[in-house]
Symmetry: C2
Subunit: 337 residues, 2 copies
């Protein structure tokens, strides 16, 4: 299973039986709208708080994924999830609704691939079957907690990113149709001393490069084996820095296979709000489980590497003048065809 | 590996090569002082914030465990940790210092056994070796975040628990001397509608009983196979409720083998401060990795079950009038003799 220092190779290749994605009204106006399962016109989802709306999105994604796989709630053996809210309340409260054995995670925006990697480990090692892995973020709930309530209208610099209102869930099983989880590289913390929470792309880019480097080293592969390598979510600023750093490390990833989930989810006309790009736990989850897996199903992509990045700051660590520790976890998915 | 619906049986029985525990001045005056590795006289640990002191305790526990196993930092393959602070900053910042591939977890006070269960899964399935699992809590950092700064002197009801200033870490490996991790039961969320954060023992007791019931059902064992079953951390109120619930479920655990980590860490003379008992991520970790494993090494206990309980509330979920979702993860440890 173990390859090199940081990589797991899943010899039983767990299948992604189904995925489900849920997004808010702003994402529903973006270029990937057709790839998402549930599009909400109401940012509140009929709830009386944004936190409850965030929880509701994760519940809906779980229920949709279970339904798409033709399963029932009680067929699910483990639920792995985390989110950006303090004490991951969206995930814990969704796990209460789902009533499944629950493993709570925290990896900020890397949670999408952290949960998929651990879920694949469980299925691959026959420690469980029908494992649900997911995450969620809600723009208004997350911005309020980390920065200011949106209603304040605080100005942001052009390096800032837009927290996606999105949930994404994958249902893993030992057998069945679907793309396969091939291997995963668990990241180390990388901290280059950046302390500006309005420039998280720059903070996270070195972590993405560190994990890509480890992945290539552990597996001794050429990055061109992948049809797509998508970081998530570096945005425009971080994506450019990552490209420069990869060149410095003599890792040649052609521009046409290197992309970023935070650059895909919004269109050019959304740029005035979005600034440097999308972010938030749900961004890489929804882009991967919606858009990228749809492309795999259409036969456009055979093998992809998703490198989900997380900025592990808290508002308190920022106030205490700490820099931002960052991490990235990478998961390789291969077409089931 | 999989047994029943919620339980993993580790057929390769990962070894606990070493453990390390670090406590604060109040815990150093308690009855288990002789079981801890590092006892601090200064609640600040020479740091300029309690949050940094909490991080420092986890770093010290990691370094001590590595040293006791005769290993170096670079020998450690994965670090699994979480804590109660928002965005688990103590764990992420400690992981930055340790520079190891990091898997961030959140299970509130169940994190001790959540991390041990996942670490054992990694070692058992040969996905890694030399895996560090741990957690930490610091009374002043945690009380400030969840309730009030201690300096305010807010009154507490007798059902309240005292957050332990403690860190506990275990180092797992495929081979070597030491107690063995035998199996683990991953808990479901149980929420009986209690919303009082000053009575978390009562909130968590049903989750502990749910997981013990699942463990016994999945493995078809008699609880008397264990020399000790320790919940953590229910305190006096939750412990009594758990006992009553077990009787209702017709599960007979003799009183002399059923205990609670929150009842062990402080002595009767500390009761005026401690009220219903100890709590906090570090409580069950330090009691298990210090006191209970020492008893195993002395041959007093052959097989123990640690049922770490977590109250998955946040100050915001409490303000929004939500009840407290609770969880418990159980890990069975057998003597290496």
């Amino acid at each position: 299973m173990q390859r090199g220092h940081q990589t797991w190779v899943f010899e039983n290749q767990p299948a992604i039986l189904s995925t489900a994605t849920v997004v808010g009204p702003f994402e529903a106006r973006g270029p990937l709208a057709g790839d998402f399962d549930i599009l909400h016109g109401d940012l509140w989802l009929g709830q009386d708080s944004y936190e409850k709306a965030q929880k509701k999105m994760l519940e809906e994604a779980c229920e949709k994924a279970i339904e798409k796989a033709g399963l029932q709630k009680q067929d699910i053996q483990f639920f792995l999830a985390g989110d950006l809210l303090n004490q991951i309340i969206s995930s814990s409260f969704a796990a209460r609704t789902m009533a499944m054995p629950f493993i709570g995670l925290y990896g900020a925006c890397s949670t999408s691939m952290e949960s998929l990697a651990l879920g694949a480990l469980i299925v691959n090692s026959k420690a469980g079957n029908n494992v649900l892995c997911g995450t969620v973020s809600h723009n208004a709930a997350v911005e309020k907690q980390f920065r200011y309530p949106n209603e304040y209208g605080a100005q942001k610099p052009p390096t800032a990113q837009w927290t996606a209102t999105a949930a994404g869930v994958a249902l893993l099983a030992a057998e069945g149709e679907g793309p396969r989880v091939d291997c995963a590289t668990i990241g180390r913390i990388v901290d280059m001393g950046i302390s500006d929470p309005y420039n998280m792309g720059a903070a996270m880019a070195p972590a993405a490069v560190d994990t890509i480097t480890a992945h290539i080293r552990d597996l001794r592969i050429d990055p061109r084996e992948y049809d797509l390598i998508a970081t998530g979510d570096l945005g425009r600023v971080g994506y450019e820095i990552a490209g420069d750093l990869l060149k410095k490390h003599n890792i040649d990833i052609p521009a046409d296979i290197f992309t970023d989930c935070g650059l895909l989810i919004y269109g050019p006309e959304q740029q005035p709000e979005v600034l440097a790009g999308g972010s938030g736990c749900g961004c890489s989850a929804a882009v991967t489980y919606g858009h990228i897996l749809n492309r795999m199903k259409r036969g456009e992509l055979g093998k992809v590497l998703i490198v989900a990045t997380g900025a592990l700051l808290s508002p308190l660590s920022y106030q205490q003048k700490e820099s931002i520790p960052c991490i990235a976890h990478a998961v390789s998915i291969v077409s089931g065809h």
